[in-house]
């Protein structure tokens, strides 16, 4: 018995909003700062997808295809953000933002910036509030991210949330590898300090 050759299912754009709209929106909202931007990215995704219907071949599901387009929109969003306003990177140690954290003279941590010891998951065994603590950490991390400069945030999200290779990020944002690492370093320095202030020193729920 020969199997019938199934026709490639045609995409059905009239169903996209109902079937994938909320899911695409939640995905975008986890990756950008606000609801309006997230909704805009979803709309842009639909516009691009409608314009490219002819190129949809059915190898991937419509859902996968729409997510590929949305991810591209998120990268484009951060590329725009990182470029405006354009802030030239100041790599001289006296003026660089790192001077906030390290003494320019010898590059040692400033005393008031010494990283504190954070409680690790191993410290919490048997306390039963690990999930809660994890959630708290994640919430504060997200709040701290919003205080980064546009360039730092772009690099951080693309590298650690979108998990793009460093090489691709350099290409997308027109950064040299050295400037890319400077931005990752600054982003981590700020996030680390912000978490320490707001998470570590938050009152522990008994």
């Amino acid at each position: 018995m020969s199997l019938p050759i199934l026709p490639t299912p045609a995409p059905d754009p009239q169903q996209w909003l109902a079937r994938f709209g909320d899911e695409l929106y939640r995905f975008a909202l986890g990756r950008v700062a606000d609801a309006d931007t997230a909704a805009e990215l979803v709309q842009d995704t639909f516009v691009s997808a409608l314009g490219a219907l002819a190129s949809f071949r059915g190898q991937a599901s419509e859902r996968t295809w729409l997510f590929v387009i949305l991810k591209r929109k998120i990268i484009d969003h951060y590329r725009r953000e990182a470029r405006s306003p354009f802030v030239p990177l100041d790599l001289s140690p006296e003026h660089a933002p790192e001077a906030e954290f390290f003494r320019p003279a010898d590059g040692h941590w400033r005393e008031e910036q010494h990283p504190a010891d954070w409680p690790g998951p191993s410290h919490d065994e048997g306390r039963g509030d690990l999930a809660l603590e994890q959630q708290e950490f994640q919430n504060i991390l997200r709040l701290c991210q919003q205080r980064l400069s546009a360039q730092q945030l772009a690099v951080f999200v693309l590298r650690f949330v979108e998990e793009l290779p460093a090489e691709d990020i350099c290409k997308e944002l027109s950064l040299s590898p050295a400037n890319y690492w400077v931005l990752v370093h600054r982003a981590k320095l700020h996030l680390r300090r912000c978490l320490e202030k707001n998470w570590l020193q938050a009152p522990v729920i008994a």
């Binding site: 996209w16 909003l17 929106y25 986890g30 709309q43 590059g107 941590w109 919430n139 400077v182 981590k188």
Partner: protein
């Protein structure tokens, strides 16, 4: 490639190299110097652990902070529906 400043006695350089080595293997000399620095410097050891923890938490945080039942706001949804109606109307 430009010369990498020694991280041996410099926490600024050491923490920068900690970020850098997450993406690409360091040349031997800075790698050995960073190793030696981390043996001596408790603050940079903490930084290394905490930086990695932040990196690991970033994606789960992006997924977790959005409630699983959150829907597109009605205004945005209506705007998008118009888009699809127009597309259907154009016969395309």
């Amino acid at each position: 490639m430009s010369a990498i400043p020694s991280p041996l006695f410099n926490c600024r350089q050491a923490t920068l190299l900690i970020e850098r080595r997450a993406d690409t293997p360091l040349p031997v000399r800075p790698r050995v110097q960073l190793w030696a620095h981390l043996r001596l410097c408790p603050y940079c050891r903490r930084y290394a652990l905490q930086s990695a923890r932040i990196a690991r938490a970033a994606r789960p945080a992006a997924e977790a902070v959005v409630p699983a039942n959150l829907a597109l706001p009605a205004v945005a949804r209506a705007r998008m529906q118009q888009l699809f109606d127009a597309h259907a109307g154009s016969g395309g």
